[in-house]
């Protein structure tokens, strides 16, 4: 518990103290990181705690953004003296109302049908918004400006960052406090066994509607922060891409751990910030990361962190470190090979390279990658990825064996600690 408080405090200190030292690009990236984190934690209230997978959370994110922009327009026109820092309340209200309404219908079903209804709701907004000038500003969307309030101008990225930080910390704290309430416990029970909840005297449907509305409300706050940061919003906020992105963030971060979605959202936002400048294939890499995490760490990054935390006293780093080192080497070699191939093929199949070939009368000119020139049909060129992949594949089974052995040991010691003694069977296994 103490360790957790110290960790959270340290992270908060970094979040408050570091951004003034960064340039504007970084400050904006940090703001986006906060928004994505809040959105993912709000979304995870549904999947992680209530066991409801929504594929249409862009609807509530977008509604929050548009509600806030409408309020900003009114303030800008001088009609209302509303404090700028409280703008996200509009997003919260919009998200809650639309969430309660949409949730009433979506939660009549569960599983796949629930997911499909949420998908349809977001699609409804996505196709309606471009044609509805008054409410969503048509295809161009709505724009406004942050008005100065209370001595603060809200002109700089840094001020916007701090506004987003305040609201994100407050919202995530409230969502965490939610898990400690009787209703929060009921939410978990509902995830485990909806039928039993009904037979214990709870109205499962109205319970789910409230959970849905709360999740939508905080998604609306996240949307509001985006509207404040960008000072504009259009119908693309309702797109499937936005809905899918939050699913991706949540699962890569780990839906079973409360702070997991924060990890996923932060990692992917920063990943996009760095990698999207370097390569056009960054979405492909993001997808690969998602698939790999789902296959080999289904509880996400947060799940891995949590496993180390839970077994902290049973971890033997002398066994774990070599295993992790081996896994890292193998992973580096394999990703090196993958990246080389993806980037090389992207260049070779690009229109620019096509043009270069035509200039060279159909010959295959060398291409530049990682600051070096490579022959299109050179042995060296293709030996690099082949050797990297071979090395990675050679190390992979060894790494997996080492990982399994190291963790078997951890679990064994955990079991022994729990039962108070090592069972003969386990002791035998340890000797072998």
């Amino acid at each position: 518990m103490l360790a957790r408080i110290v960790t959270i405090a340290a992270i908060l200190v970094v979040l408050v103290a570091v951004p003034p030292l960064l340039d504007i690009g970084w400050q904006n990236a940090m703001t986006n990181m906060l928004i994505a984190s809040l959105f993912a934690v709000a979304f995870n209230l549904l999947i992680g705690q209530a066991g409801l997978l929504s594929f249409g959370h862009a609807a509530f994110f977008g509604v929050g953004a548009f509600a806030t922009l409408h309020l900003m327009v009114v303030i800008e026109d001088g009609g209302l003296a509303f404090p700028t820092p409280l703008l996200p309340l509009a997003g919260a209200a919009g998200g809650f109302v639309i969430g309660a309404f949409a949730g009433y219908f979506a939660t009549m079903r569960s599983g796949v049908y629930f997911a499909l209804v949420t998908l349809a709701i977001a699609e409804l907004f996505h196709s309606l918004a471009p044609h509805w000038d008054g409410l969503f500003g048509g295809e161009a969307g709505l724009s406004s400006m942050r008005m100065p309030w209370g001595g603060l101008v809200y002109g700089s990225s840094l001020e916007v960052y701090y506004l987003a930080l305040g609201w994100t910390v407050l919202s995530v704290f409230l969502l965490w406090a939610y898990t400690r309430t009787p209703f929060g416990r009921l939410t978990l029970a509902l995830r485990d066994n909806e039928q039993r909840v009904r037979f214990m005297g709870y109205n499962a449907h109205s319970t789910k509607v409230i959970i849905f509305a709360v999740s939508a409300m905080f998604s609306g706050v996240a949307g509001a922060l985006l509207a404040i940061s960008n000072e504009t919003a259009n119908y693309t906020l309702f797109s499937t891409h936005v809905s899918a992105q939050v699913v991706l963030h949540t699962f890569v971060g780990g839906s079973t751990v409360f702070f997991g979605p924060v990890i996923g959202a932060s990692v992917f936002t920063l990943f996009a910030f760095f990698v999207s400048d370097v390569t056009r294939s960054w979405l492909l890499y993001q997808g690969l990361i998602f698939v790999l995490v789902m296959l080999y760490a289904p509880h996400g990054i947060g799940g891995l962190v949590d496993a180390h935390r839970r077994h902290w006293s049973q971890l033997r780093w002398s066994e774990l470190a070599p295993a992790y080192g081996l896994a890292a080497l193998s992973g580096l070699a394999l990703s090196g090979a993958t990246i080389f191939l993806v980037e090389a093929f992207e260049i070779l199949f690009s229109p620019e390279y096509d043009a270069a070939r035509r200039r060279a009368d159909g010959a295959w000119p060398p291409f530049e990658l990682f600051g070096l020139d490579w022959q299109a049909f050179g042995i060296v060129t293709w030996a690099v990825p082949v050797l990297l992949a071979a090395a990675g594949l050679l190390l992979l089974p060894r790494a997996r064996r080492a990982l399994r052995q190291a963790w078997d040991g951890v679990l064994e010691r955990t079991e022994a600690d729990r039962t108070g003694s090592v069972s003969p069977e386990l002791a035998g296994a340890a000797e072998r």
Binding site: P182, R185, R196, M200
Partner: protein, 251 residues
């Protein structure tokens, strides 16, 4: 003694499409009675429980709980009127702790259904009561473990505890000793006897020794009809019942 039955089934029928699984069942359960429903497989015992607890709607007839009709009500409404059921296949919250499984029931009893603005750990009444139920079903030692990690018989005990925790005083237990060893069965019967003290119990059971030692009255259900109702002794000596169900084992 109050003569009005706590639970009255009159002309209860159920059909799934063209398939009639229950005909005109009439049954009165008196206050404080321990009543067993026995019958061969497929006789409709579980269907009867599903009808009473609101899982399925009735096709015909009426069910009254303390004189008020409960037919057509949703399961949670029936539970709030004081009737709680267990399940034949263990139906618990696997990932929650044993204590929390019971606390969900106690919360319902206190009407804490939408408690969003207080901390559950600060609700002393609820926590104390959940701990008391935990001790009554003899699971105090494993209270912190995830319910899914319990042994089978411990999960059955938890199942009964959850049924009781909502505070209902009409308890329906669906095969509480199914799949248990002799020893476990004896302990489970003792537990059921002890914790349903002062409550009305309706139990589906296959084990005749359990039925005859636990219950005051027995109803025999065969092909969706009540063949006979009476004391265990009367049922044991009823020729029709012997032929239809008990067979040579008891005769």
């Amino acid at each position: 003694m109050n003569t009005e039955p706590v639970l009255r089934l009159s002309g209860v029928g159920k059909a799934f499409g063209a398939l009639t699984v229950m005909n005109e069942v009439n049954l009165d359960i008196a206050q404080g009675e321990r009543h067993a429903v026995i019958g061969p497989n497929g006789a409709g015992k579980s269907t009867l429980f599903n009808l009473i607890s609101g899982m399925f709607p009735l096709s015909a007839g009426d069910i009254r709980l303390r004189g008020k009709t409960i037919s057509g009500l949703a399961p949670h409404e029936i539970n709030r009127r004081g009737l709680s059921r267990s399940f034949q296949i263990t139906n618990i919250f696997h990932r929650l702790s044993v204590f929390e499984n019971l606390r969900i029931g106690v919360m319902a009893r206190h009407g804490v259904r939408y408690g969003l603005f207080r901390r559950v750990s600060r609700m002393r009444g609820v926590n104390d009561e959940a701990r008391a139920v935990l001790e009554r079903v003899r699971l105090a030692e494993v209270g912190d473990r995830p319910a899914g990690d319990l042994t089978y018989s411990e999960q059955r005990a938890l199942e009964i505890g959850m049924t009781l925790a909502t505070g209902a005083d009409v308890i329906l237990l669906d095969e509480p000793t199914a799949g248990m060893s002799r020893e476990e069965t004896d302990r489970a019967v003792e537990l059921v006897r002890e914790i349903t003290e002062g409550k009305t119990l309706l139990v589906v059971e296959h084990d005749m020794s359990v039925v005859f030692s636990l219950c005051d009255r027995v109803s025999v259900l065969v092909y969706g009809n009540i063949l006979a109702t009476g004391t265990p002794e009367e049922i044991r000596n009823n020729r029709q019942v012997q032929e239809a169900y008990l067979g040579e084992e008891v005769a």
